[in-house]
């Protein structure tokens, strides 16, 4: 039994948690799925490898999961950041979730937010060179080409909202697309609706998105919606120093300001 499985087993045996949310084998060898381990002897179901990409944090907000009792979550770095960001947004309370950090050596359970903050302080952050390059590639296109690119990307959107379902920060009980007084977003999945939906989603995540990439992974049409989020995350970082999910401090970039914020675009 590996360290992850052992740790999960210990937690369950000691009744420190009621369920361990982790990754298990999917229906095909290359696929992974979320598993909910509730008995110590099921711990060997837990695996962790490169293919385990889903951000499991959003399960902790589900009423069904909450009903099971205290949960431990197998957490990659984005998952840890998600937990802290959820904490700043009053969605989870301290010591209500145990994080099992994976991908950086030892699996030492992090039982409170302070421990997660400390753990994250030593983890490198920022976008990879490849990610930055992808962004730069689109930025370097002409305006018309950018419009054409997104037009063609978004033309595939079927408004299935899988992105929303996969996103741990999309926890609103009634999403803006469901608000109909007024009807902010047109219902049909036409160009206008698709554009508005994706712009709104990006703006709603600006300064909050912890860049886990789950939305793009979930998109059945393989639209690179994560790039919209990456753009705003980069801007929020550069302009406002926003790095969501690194602490439980309430520092949402769009709910604060500096008198010296850049404004050369305003005349």
């Amino acid at each position: 039994m590996n360290e992850l499985q052992q740790t999960a087993k210990d937690l369950l045996e000691k009744n420190a948690v009621a369920v361990v949310i982790g990754y298990g084998m999917g229906s095909e060898p290359s696929l992974r799925r979320a598993v909910f381990v509730r008995k110590p002897d099921q711990a060997p179901q837990l695996i962790f490898d490169e293919s385990c990409r889903q951000n499991l944090a959003f399960y902790v907000l589900k009423p069904e999961v909450k009903a099971l009792g205290k949960a431990a979550v197998v957490a990659r770095t984005p998952t840890l950041r998600t937990l802290l960001q959820l904490a700043t947004e009053n969605q989870i309370t301290d010591e209500s979730v145990v994080a099992l950090p994976v991908g950086n050596g030892s699996v030492q359970p992090l039982t409170n937010f302070a421990a997660i903050e400390q753990y994250l302080a030593n983890v490198p952050r920022g976008f990879t060179a490849q990610e930055q390059q992808e962004l730069a590639a689109i930025k370097s296109k002409t305006l018309a080409d950018r419009w054409a690119f997104w037009k063609s990307e978004l033309s595939r959107c079927i408004k299935c909202y899988a992105c929303r379902a996969a996103c741990p920060m999309c926890y609103c009980s009634k999403c803006i697309v469901e608000v109909n007084q007024p009807q902010w977003v047109p219902v049909p999945s036409d160009m206008l609706g698709n554009l508005e939906w994706n712009v709104i989603r990006a703006m709603h995540l600006a300064g909050r998105c912890i860049s886990c990439g789950s939305c793009a992974d979930a998109c059945p049409a393989h639209i690179r919606i994560d790039l919209l989020n990456q753009l705003l995350a980069t801007e929020a970082m550069q302009q406002f120093g926003a790095e969501p999910g690194l602490s439980v401090r309430k520092d949402y970039a769009l709910a604060t300001f500096k008198p010296t914020d850049k404004e050369e675009f305003i005349r």
Partner: protein, 663 residues
């Protein structure tokens, strides 16, 4: 179905000169929902207003659009007319055909087209207006004044004299603040205590003022008209009812070597003490940190000698809860100490003192009886240097602002020194002289011309000791920037005026904003100089920014008049343009997910947490709630709310959406 009435005003020729008003009325009549559309020469005239009132009744209108001038001009007029006609005033909107159309465009078809559009936009909006009602908030007519310096004293007396109750909280054992420490005041040189102490006594005796000294604000909740404050009354260790202030206790107290705060550490006091002879209340407190009984368990001499048996060693801090309708923050300032200056010796030279210390030396009631003596050896300084801008205007030391009073008090100090030590030499090192004020410039000139104080323009780079003298290395930038070295016996630093060390904590307690220097921020730098952006909290004196006594008193009176204005009615009536959080049925109860990201965006701290519970008290969820007494209706939270569960009355999402649709 909506029944909208449209009323087009010609404004004489002002609108009809370029806009075809009859055409606008004709087209408007065809808009869905419009049941009445007329044009008239002067809509704001009595006959014009009657047109509206009559139409409301005759046509059973559910909404009115007056297409006339700017709503900033006549919206109140027409809303009142609607109300008189029996329609909720908030069901009336104005289309601005004059300032935004007829006056800014030529007589062209496009101008009339625009006018029609403007009417259509407002028709679409008004269809979605809902009746709104003024928000009435009861007012508790008691003011809480924080701080018993001259600012607090002035504010408290003015409010009390207007007939309202005042609770004054002062942290020290006596009121009086820094002004009680000053020797004489510029530019008149009247004795500070002589003008202040009668006011202090008035506070103590005023039937409308309750005074808590040796007390601090512990907590402040609530909103304008309805604050609830918790005051911590620190244990004075005496029974104030029994104590007569006879003074036997501090004559007998064996611990006589405690540095006196009132005398800026240049004199001493006992462990049981009154800060100064004219203290109000003139009853002692025991400083437990220095009391032998509290520290070592033995002594109790004061208790033995107290003729009224008023000593209470077992007294505890007391928490008092009070309801107040307004708060005046008048918590004052501190000055930087000499240890703030590395280049002036980190405070290690006893003969380098602060301006406030000089005040005590110059004061007839001070530790030297008004004789200027060196703290180190008691000699009278033959050469004295005053250094202005010590710490002020010094971004490198983190203080970029001008402390405003130093130029004047430095001139006063130099003058007082020359009056007391006739043969002495006085130098003032300065950068600029800022003497804007009645008789201020004249005062400075007198210091230079009549008292022959030497003003040297240049900053002092360093001070060090040499054979019992202080070598002051400065420069005269007016003399070809020549380095100047003065051997002084004493140096007085006009150290920067700074916020109280706990100003930030206090601001957070009151939920008011403060600037980078921890001075409390007024609501508007020009037009609301004594209000804070939390309604019902006012500011006076140097806790807001450095200022001198006349300015402080003026601001305190201004704050008091604001409080008196607020207390002039039993209820506070407010425009209902405020944000609201929508509620829905179970199981969600509200679309608000309780992320509270709006909380920090609100400039007024109007967003509260509301717990939704089941009948048996189980928490279902926590959602945002707008305190309508505090909300000013800017709508920043509305734009930020992802689920659109906050909306702004009068400018709802539906209304604005409809305006856009009608384009």
């Amino acid at each position: 179905m909506p029944r909208i009435g449209v009323f087009i005003c010609h404004c004489g020729e002002n609108i009809s000169g370029t806009v075809d008003c009859a055409e606008v009325a004709k087209v408007s009549a065809e808009f869905p929902g419009v049941v009445h559309s007329v044009d008239y020469k002067y809509m704001c005239s009595d006959p014009g207003q009657n047109l509206i009132k009559n139409a409301i009744q005759e046509k059973k209108l559910t909404g009115v659009v007056v297409a006339a001038c700017s709503p900033r001009m006549h919206e109140p007029t027409f809303r009142r007319a609607c109300a008189e006609g029996g329609l909720n005033p908030f069901l009336c909107e104005m289309a601005n055909l004059r300032e935004h159309c007829s006056w800014v465009h030529e007589k062209l078809p496009a101008t009339t087209e625009k006018a029609i559009d403007l009417v259509r936009i407002m028709v679409e909006k008004v269809k979605r207006n809902r009746p709104l009602f003024s928000i009435n908030v009861p007012v508790t007519k008691t003011a809480l004044v924080l701080g018993g310096g001259i600012a607090g004293i002035q504010a408290a007396l003015d409010i009390a004299n207007a007939g309202h109750k005042v609770i004054m909280v002062e942290r020290q054992a006596s009121i009086g603040g820094h002004m009680a420490q000053l020797s004489e005041t510029f530019p008149t040189l009247d004795c500070s205590q002589c003008i202040l102490t009668p006011r202090m006594v008035e506070v103590a005796q005023h039937p409308n003022i309750t005074l808590y000294t040796y007390a601090e604000l512990e907590k402040l909740d609530g909103f304008i008209g309805n604050f609830r404050a918790v005051i911590r009354k620190k244990a004075k260790s005496i029974d104030e009812k029994l104590c007569t202030g006879c003074g036997v206790c501090f004559q007998k107290c064996p611990n006589k070597k405690i540095l006196s705060e009132f005398n800026t550490h240049l004199g001493t006091r006992t462990a049981i003490y009154v800060p100064f002879p004219q203290a109000v209340p003139n009853k002692p407190v025991i400083d437990r940190e220095h009391c032998m009984y509290f520290q070592k368990g033995k002594c109790r001499i004061c208790e033995k000698f107290c003729p009224t048996k008023a000593i209470r060693f077992d007294q505890q801090d007391e928490l008092i809860e009070v309801n107040v309708g307004a708060v005046v923050a008048a918590t004052g300032y501190e000055v930087k100490d000499t240890d703030f200056f590395p280049e002036y010796g980190y405070g290690k030279y006893p003969d380098i003192i602060t301006g406030l210390q000089f005040e005590r030396l110059a004061s007839a009631s001070g530790p030297t009886g008004g004789v200027i003596k060196r703290p180190s050896d008691g000699r009278i300084p033959e050469t004295i240097a005053f250094i202005a801008c010590a710490g002020s205007r010094d971004p490198a030391k983190g203080i970029s602002y001008c402390s405003k009073i130093c130029c004047m008090y430095t001139a006063k100090h130099a003058m007082l020194y020359k009056h007391k030590v006739h043969q002495g030499k006085a130098y003032v090192f300065y950068m600029d002289i800022r003497a804007g004020g009645k008789m201020y410039e004249e005062f400075v000139r007198r210091t230079i011309e009549e008292d022959e104080v030497h003003y040297v323009r240049g900053r002092v780079s360093r001070i060090y000791d040499r054979d019992g003298k202080l070598v002051v290395r400065g420069v005269d930038t007016l003399l070809n920037a020549k380095p100047i070295e003065i051997e002084a016996d004493m140096v007085v630093l006009a150290t920067a005026m700074v916020a109280q060390p706990d100003a930030e904590e206090l601001a957070q307690k009151m939920k008011v904003s403060y600037d980078e220097n921890k001075f409390l921020s007024e609501a508007h730098p020009k037009l609301r100089p004594v209000e804070m952006n939390t309604a019902g909290i006012f500011v006076a004196g140097a806790c807001q920014a450095p200022k001198d006594i006349p300015e402080t008193v003026a601001q305190a009176s201004a704050a008091a008049s604001k409080v008196a204005g607020l207390f002039s009615k039993d209820e506070l009536s407010r425009e209902p343009v405020v944000a609201v959080v929508s509620r829905t049925g179970p199981p969600e109860f509200s679309n608000c997910v309780g992320c509270f990201l709006c909380e920090s965006a609100c400039p007024y701290q109007a967003i509260e947490h509301e717990e939704i519970k089941t009948r048996d008290g189980k928490l279902i969820k926590t959602v945002a709630k707008i305190n309508q007494g505090v909300c000013q209706g800017c709508g920043t939270c509305v734009a930020l709310c992802r689920t659109k569960s906050i909306d702004l009355q009068g400018f709802t999402n539906e209304q604005i959406f409809a305006e856009l649709v009608s384009l």
